[in-house]
């Protein structure tokens, strides 16, 4: 099989596509499992051959999709270091931060014919781990909201501000209070390593939530 490098933009797009699809499913699943929104808006759909819960609310879906659409070019160029889903209470203080740390090996070599099936299996395992994360996390206070942050390497965001990837969907520098959480407990959830992608998922949880 071919050995493709980072310079091969096509392959970067492939990885970005896989990752963005996964992030969309993971975000919906976290919203469902952590009960950010009532479970009535979710319906079972299938991804990676297993059932997952996705929301039906159009504006919510649109927000998540637009966000990931903007993140995708960063992932393609391997400039996205972390994608963070912050869950905040009513006063906009973060109570939980689901951090997806992403790294891509500089020289991607597709050496295995079953590569993508293997990646699918790993992503399936991550989805499963999100489903059971309830066991290690305390309950959230009612009335939580969420937001998505992206930590980029170097100065990638300067380009983002210049070019609006989606009209009327501006990205702003995150508030300090959203980025840093006090009294945080770190709970690792899952790590996955594959030829094309390395991802780690952990949760930073505030010690006292109420």
């Amino acid at each position: 099989m071919a050995t493709l490098t980072r310079q091969d933009l096509n392959f970067g797009q492939v990885v970005a596509d896989i990752l963005c699809e996964f992030l969309e499913v993971a975000i919906h699943l976290i919203l469902y499992v952590r009960e950010i929104y009532p479970s009535g808006i979710f319906q079972k759909r299938k991804k990676y051959n297993v059932p997952v819960q996705m929301s039906c609310h159009p504006e919510l879906n649109q927000y998540i999709q637009d966000t990931l659409h903007c993140v995708k070019p960063l992932i393609q160029k391997n400039e996205a270091e972390k994608v963070v889903m912050v869950i905040m209470d009513k006063e906009h203080h973060p109570v939980e931060r689901f951090v997806f740390e992403i790294s891509q090996p500089p020289l991607l070599s597709i050496s295995s014919e079953t590569l993508l099936s293997h990646v699918e299996q790993l992503l399936r395992a991550m989805i499963l781990k999100i489903s059971v994360c309830d066991a290690v996390l305390d309950n959230n206070p009612p009335g939580c909201t969420f937001t998505l942050l992206v930590h980029t390497r170097e100065a990638a965001t300067r380009n983002m501000e210049k070019v609006q990837v989606i009209k009327d969907f501006p990205w702003i520098v995150a508030d300090e209070q959203e980025v840093h959480m006090e009294e945080a407990k770190l709970i690792p959830l899952k790590t996955m390593t594959s030829d094309i992608l390395k991802m780690q998922l952990y949760v930073e949880e505030r010690t006292q939530k109420n």
Binding site: N10, V14, I18, K47, V50, P51, Q65, I110
Partner: protein, 441 residues
Amino acid sequence: MDDLYLDNIDEFVNDQNKIVTYKWLSLTLGVHVNTAKQMLYHYLQQKRNESSGTPLHATYLVSGKCVENGSTYHKVSVVREDKLDAVKAKMDVTISVHVYSVQRAELKDSSPLYSTDYDAVKENLKNCNKYSAIRCAAAVPLSSSELQRAQEKALVPPVEKEISKPGFNENTSATSKPSAKQPAGIMGMFASKNASKSQESSKEVKTEQKEDFSLVETSKSKTASKANPMSNFFGKSAQKKADEKPNKSIKEEMDSSSTASATASLKQSQTSSKSETDVKEEQSKVSKALKVESKDTRNKTKRPEVVDSDDEKMLSQQKKRRRIKKPQPDSSDEEVVPDSPPVPNVHTPSPKKQVKREPVSHQEESSEVKRRKRRRVLRSNTFVDEDGAFVTEKGYVSESYSESEEEPESNSQAKDSSSLKQSFGKREEEKKEESEEDLCC
């Protein structure tokens, strides 16, 4: 039995925070399922008696007879522990209750239970029923001679075999890839049995119909937005995904249109492979696994997105997967064609939606089925998804020219082949085909 298993289960549940289902436990520890159930029960008892440490949650499988609206049903359901007593009380006769799973987290829905079993079963696909309590003496894999016989029956005598062979090398490798991939889920039986045979038979079958050349190429070119084979696949799925969002029907159209052309070649490979029964079983498994009828089309779009690296392989595999699911509305046709190899038997959940939408097409399909047999299967499925009955007909027509006797079919058939040959690469062209179809039908 010694109590080491209790420590094992403890490690799985508490340290690794896994969901331990009885099926997963039986495959992991290599014990009979009934033993696994007892192990889980003892573990629960022990932990509950200790009344310390982290709380455990369990789900149970309850089976019994209940009476609703005057008729008696045998109900089997997986229930959470807190609902167990309520469900048992509702049943007239409780036939069996056993522990289904033990986990630390309180599950909100049953999806993780399925996920847990999925990978365990996938790895042990050939002997996943080794520890099972369900036995059927008649359920044995076909021997190679029987397999060959079934394949010969399925195949139309290949005439242009040699001509098309060189052109189809990619396709055959593509189809062999999907067959290799099939253990990745519902297609397990397919792959394990027919890897090489389907390859050959797919070659033969494909060569028979030149139109399928164009169809396969069409599908490939349609989905190929870039030269890179991998990005072809993902480009398509990404496009598909983008379209999914706004409109489900548009999605369906895209799905079926993009898979329509590839359907032929893939279906042929399917039909030629012996495991018709396997296909049926897979289909029934698929339909059960889906559990949500209305999501069927969406599932189909999502499925191809993460499959394989090579374009045609993935295409064919994804098409193959879709196709297996798609023959749901044809369930009515099965009676008419008992000997057609890949007739899908059980597709209970998904057909409902499509059946409602295209009642007319059903009748037309059944009348055409008599002559179409396996060919029908190749195409009809994709069309069910699309809006309008005509789409379904399109499937039939293009495939069954060897046997068609009806004039309108032959007319539309001619139109199909020409329109299909002309369409390359763009979904709009596919849609154009559909509109042409509409006109002729």
